[in-house]
Symmetry: D2
Subunit: 270 residues, 4 copies
Amino acid sequence: MTSDYQAAADWWATSISDIQPGVIRLRGYAIEDLIGGASFSQVIWLMVRGELPSAAEAELLELTLVAAVDHGPQAPSIAAARMAASCGLALNNAMATGVNLLGDVHGGAGQQCLEVLRELRTAVRAGESPEAAARALVTAYKDRKAFVPGFGHRFHPRDPRRDPLISALTAAVDQGVVEGDYLPLALALEGVLAEGPKPIPMNVDGATAAIYAELGFPPELARGLFVLSRSVGLLAHAYEQQQEPTRIKGPLPKSITPTYRGVPPRPVSS
Amino acid sequence: MTSDYQAAADWWATSISDIQPGVIRLRGYAIEDLIGGASFSQVIWLMVRGELPSAAEAELLELTLVAAVDHGPQAPSIAAARMAASCGLALNNAMATGVNLLGDVHGGAGQQCLEVLRELRTAVRAGESPEAAARALVTAYKDRKAFVPGFGHRFHPRDPRRDPLISALTAAVDQGVVEGDYLPLALALEGVLAEGPKPIPMNVDGATAAIYAELGFPPELARGLFVLSRSVGLLAHAYEQQQEPTRIKGPLPKSITPTYRGVPPRPVSS
Amino acid sequence: MTSDYQAAADWWATSISDIQPGVIRLRGYAIEDLIGGASFSQVIWLMVRGELPSAAEAELLELTLVAAVDHGPQAPSIAAARMAASCGLALNNAMATGVNLLGDVHGGAGQQCLEVLRELRTAVRAGESPEAAARALVTAYKDRKAFVPGFGHRFHPRDPRRDPLISALTAAVDQGVVEGDYLPLALALEGVLAEGPKPIPMNVDGATAAIYAELGFPPELARGLFVLSRSVGLLAHAYEQQQEPTRIKGPLPKSITPTYRGVPPRPVSS
Amino acid sequence: MTSDYQAAADWWATSISDIQPGVIRLRGYAIEDLIGGASFSQVIWLMVRGELPSAAEAELLELTLVAAVDHGPQAPSIAAARMAASCGLALNNAMATGVNLLGDVHGGAGQQCLEVLRELRTAVRAGESPEAAARALVTAYKDRKAFVPGFGHRFHPRDPRRDPLISALTAAVDQGVVEGDYLPLALALEGVLAEGPKPIPMNVDGATAAIYAELGFPPELARGLFVLSRSVGLLAHAYEQQQEPTRIKGPLPKSITPTYRGVPPRPVSS
């Protein structure tokens, strides 16, 4: 084996998958043992974390994957995937178009909320009470006129995904599946945010972030797991669009013309 | 409600999701009932097919989702996602980059194999034997020097994902979970393809196509489900790459320079 | 140099660019000679064709690049890029989102029209008159209820980009810049398509296809050049969107809810 | 016109393009006047800035567009586009794949350098000398072990694009095309960065940033213009790849297998 071989092989080194002729091992497990030996949720966890989770941990993760699959064509990611399908793109290209849109603003709230929960956890470990830490954080956000990520929803007065997720997490804490270090912090935040004229309850991003924090996921992966979940909605919507006759679907029906607000007509002077 | 409202609302009509303030219903099911009431695989099926599958059907689907999560950085989709991560892209953008590459050639074999199996099914329904139909099809492919999609692997003499998938499908046929209309066709094809000097066994795309055919999925969705599965590998690899210091990762280490095969140096004549 | 080095270097061999420390040569020309020595249009041509065009040829290409820069947010590509920008994506990611949508249906008409013109050219070379060849082709399209690509516009009764492009091409034929083999064919098609109750004049894709055919571009590049042109509009719109406060811009204002056409509410039976 | 119409139309309001049946106006100019009446560079400027530039300004912009078209398949964006093409993607999808990779790290240096130049400009306006401001900035970057964006190149000891761009900018300052507020700042930075054991000369991003600063472009657009330029290389490479027989092109030839660094084989315990 030459040093050139080694340099090229090492350039693409990975700890995830070992692929040899006739062999596919993921994190050390033979693929033929994983097929049937582990659930999809367990394999998702294995791939991003390196170890297989317990069945109870995987079930908790699975709830979050179910929760976020779709929020309809109002979501720009779904709309973009449908428009892509109407332009003749294959399903993978249409799905990629939608996934691309799940950026900081559209798909990053879970990640940001997880960072907030970790910040609170640090404060609590340093001796603060959850309530005091939550209050200080909310005040800081209000002072810079920012929303606390994971709370409130521009569409739902109360996000219907909050309760089943938080119930399941509460049960998991009770059963010792997770430690319960973060759930009280998320609830403390919600409590402080309920004190204003209009309560701002936890949304799906906040509830999943609480679960991910309890399960030990780093913040970045909150976004990644959300992408896996929403990809299901992207697939369903892109496929539904493909069955329809509309071609080159713009955002508005042809009967409505976008407003023009620019400079009036003018000649090109030579 | 004005006709303009109606036109705009109808422009984005969907049968998948009903989103109202406080309400998220997918295919008629309230999200709070689906969270905990259905597995992720069941919800994937529900979203793309419109109805919830039985647990046994969902388990069969789940095997295929596990089977295809990753094939390492040799796969251009994974490599592209890793390069994207090294360019500073967020996980969603890196995953989108990889998903985009799962096109006709890289991600379309399952879809094509499903079409082949349906073609054989039509022939069998018309009275041909599976073997005769398979033989005719293989001959037709050989005549135009094409590969039968779903069979053979450029890397694995025998794809290690074939056996566990076909075993599970065989068991499902035995247990009456599926009809068994397509499994014999896939095996007949494999039999004919084993007659040459070098057998060309079923690969992961062929085995999953057989399962999808039995489960009643249309061909396009074979690609979509593959995208969902491989997205897990894309996430794991993009995240692993993010933890590494390499920036602007090209395909080769800096010590190796791509060969230039173009015209020799020449001046721009004025 | 080892054979491993050679294999890796050759794997990425190219005839386009020769990059060595301190050296960047494109198609044999040193980059420092091209900067200031060739126009952007000339370099675009050089990169995709391999040779520098004459100034007159490059000017003709340049007209087509100007013509297609934008068609407003009705176009799904532009809308998707704006939605992407509103989700917090950087300009490159927003532009990529839009470019991805310029597929067969949205961005492929020029390519398809170029193929049609080449088909007519073959017929004419075989002895048919342009009119007869055009008439036969239109009949064939009508018979399968297809539109002739490059003619008619769902929005413009007469595409305002047709006349200046065709005028310039006519002048270029008169001046001997191009041969004039394809312009008569495009005009013959337009003539036949004007015979019905409603004329179907050439659109921007047809006019640019005529120019690209005269300039010797292969059909695939018609799409590629359209992408380069429309990327300008994508950039402008994504940047304009970034300046606005809207976040997570869906296709419709919040006051309008997409119509739901699916099954009514139902319970998850256990 | 109903309020619903107005709400929907306003949701997609733009100052860029006014599209009516038979009418396409960009920034107030009829498209038929722009075709032939303005160069591609002028129209690029018009679209992103709102006004047509002088011919001299557009020429300066054009040099930067020529300079950055390609840097070969070592660049991950180009490699990803080629891999995409080998997976059967159409040119637009392959180009989008590459554009997506031009993120903060790969395509953002020009933007970051423009921000640095603006920072220096503020310091100079406040009374500091260019040299002192440059020295303070370089010290601050060194202290946090960061590279000054726009200077140094991991591949070229001296970027061959620097000299022709800076020469042209110098001439433009001399001729009064631009004010010359930023060129001295870029040169001052280069001077300070030349004092170490190894000079760190301006690279293409630094030189184009100096030009964009002089021309009044906001930093974000430096990235956008780079995307427009590099899209040319993406098109050329994706098209070249399409002509080749390689399918599913991974980053390494099949003779080289990526190194596996993960846990050794292990059983799935039940």
